[in-house]
């Protein structure tokens, strides 16, 4: 209809760029500009609160603060100190043990709950789904406070049992219970969503072949949601490596068993905010962050093929 001419002289279409091409180019330019404009706020935030802090943490982790010379370049000194620091090692070993025990317990509980609500369709199972998920809606700080009271030998319901929940040999299990209580329901919903996505016909044919519900749950459903299970496991391990809030909140209950260096993150926090050892603290958190990040990235890369299919 109204083709816009680029030049007043009517040039033959073959000689210069045709009007159609140039409007298309204008559209492209406009789209590119709009695209950048739309992602701009996000990019600014990404730089200011992710890339810049990361780069800054890395930079200061390479320096050392001295009384006489001020900040001096120390290259990998802080990292070497962190790797050889027995308090860092103790914390790392503790969160690893914690992760190795807590993760299977919690994911197992979440899987059991997910399989149950997937096969039972009663009103109670709908209620149960809610009940299991509600703890996730509670702030970690408040969930931990609640359990702190429940563990208490003066106001808690388990006072009669004579168990000291915050002794040095029981406190890790007590912390694990808090994490399980808070996150099992969340993982249950994630696994349940995966179960709901499975084709139901397979169960029918298994039933006709005489498989029991338990066999269907263990031999068909569970292997079919293995990718969701692996993902939930990964996120849980990553979370436990960064363990911080729960032990920090419970610390005043028994500072002897929950020490200042109980987890690597608590240690880094204490180094920075109690002792102003920012450089060393940055090295510890950077090291921990790198482990978590690289681990996650390897995992994402390994599962990329599978997710591309969907």
């Amino acid at each position: 209809m109204t083709e816009v001419q680029t030049s007043p002289a009517a040039a033959p279409a073959a000689a210069g760029p045709s009007p159609k091409v140039s409007t298309r180019r204008a559209t492209h330019l406009r789209e590119a500009a709009t695209g950048w404009l739309f992602v701009l706020p996000f990019v600014v935030l990404l730089i200011a609160f992710l890339l810049l802090p990361l780069a800054y943490a890395f930079k200061i982790s390479l320096y050392r603060s001295t009384l006489i010379e001020g900040e001096v370049f120390a290259f990998t000194d802080n990292y070497q100190q962190a790797i050889n620091d027995p308090l860092v090692r103790e914390g790392v070993v503790r969160v690893l043990i914690f992760g190795l025990i807590q993760t299977p317990v919690m994911i197992g509980l979440a899987l059991l709950a997910a399989l149950l609500i997937d096969s039972a369709t009663s009103r109670f199972s709908r209620f149960f789904r809610l009940a299991a998920f509600v703890p996730y809606a509670v702030p970690v700080v408040i969930g931990t406070l609640m359990w702190g009271f429940l563990y208490s030998d003066s106001v808690g319901p388990f006072a009669g049992l004579g168990i000291d929940f915050t002794a040095s040999d029981t406190v890790l299990a007590s912390l694990g219970n808090i994490v399980t209580w808070q996150w099992a329901g969340y993982n249950m919903i994630v696994l349940y969503a995966a179960l709901q996505g499975l084709p139901k016909e397979i169960y029918e044919s298994a039933r006709i072949d005489g498989a029991s519900e338990v066999q269907i749950a263990l031999r068909i459903k569970t292997p079919m949601i293995s990718s969701a299970l692996v993902l939930a496991t990964l996120f849980t391990i990553m979370g436990t490596l960064q363990f911080f809030t729960e032990p920090l909140i419970l610390q005043p209950l028994n500072p002897g068993s929950i020490t200042q260096h109980y987890t690597p993150n608590m240690y880094a926090y204490g180094q920075a905010f109690s002792f102003q050892q920012y450089n060393y603290s940055a090295a510890i958190s950077f090291l921990l962050g790198a482990v978590v990040f690289i681990g996650s990235y390897i995992f994402l890369f390994a599962t990329r093929k599978r997710s591309a299919l969907q």
């Binding site: 590119a32 149950l116 998920f133 509670v138 408040i142 429940l150 969503a193 005043p252």
Partner: protein, 281 residues
Amino acid sequence: MNSKKGSVAAHVVMGLMAVYFLLPFWWLLVAATKNNQGLFQSDSLWFSGFHLFENLKQVFTGQDGVFLIWLRNSAFYAAVSGVGATVVSALAGYAFAKLRFPGRNKLFALLLGLIMVPATALVLPTYLLMSQANLVDTIWAVILPSLLNPFGVYLLRVYVADSIPDEMLEAARIDGAGEFRVFRSVVLPAMRPALVTVLLFSMVASWNNFFLPLVMLSDDQLYPLTVGLRTWYMSAIMGNGAGATFSVIVTGALVAIVPLIVAFLMLQRYWRGGLTLGSVK
């Protein structure tokens, strides 16, 4: 017959697990109705006297009503961070899904890579940078970092790509709508369910946030509930100062979780929507 037995067993297991998940809530509810003496001397899982209203009064009036300020701060941080993060994610998610601009794929790959950067590695350097910008101990120190939500961008990009056909956008453009107009009148309404999910998750993340405000704030008038309640709890355990008693902390904890539980029950669909989207990946 066998399957009936199995169903009974399944319900017994679910019943036991439900007791586990709900017991702390029951304890909290019961404890919030007792005075401090009752808390220590009565059966912890059953009522003894009814002092809920006295406790509430103490919670809201103790220490010049600082609890109310914390409650207000939490609500304010959650609302501003939640809405801000959702708007930023919506703009970026739409652009990644539907607009072709140079560097789009590289930027999105960068986002995917950075989604996994753990928050704990960022808090200290963010604090140091904020203190250079003189923003430590202001509301901005808590709000600004919370506006960044890479997962929200990812979620909305997936949603827009799947649910908004290109023809719909083309039709609006042919009708003469500018890019912002297209976004506001066509894209935003179409992505509403996913927007509510992102809004809900960012608001709850902000309401529950602890590490960031703990590090950034030292003025107790700026504390959110999580940081404030912890200071009460610490002083009660250590037994120092004229701080709050256990009964006040328990009641305060109840007050702090009630809005979340109400929101959670009313907006179940969106919670589940978000988790399902997240799990598909």
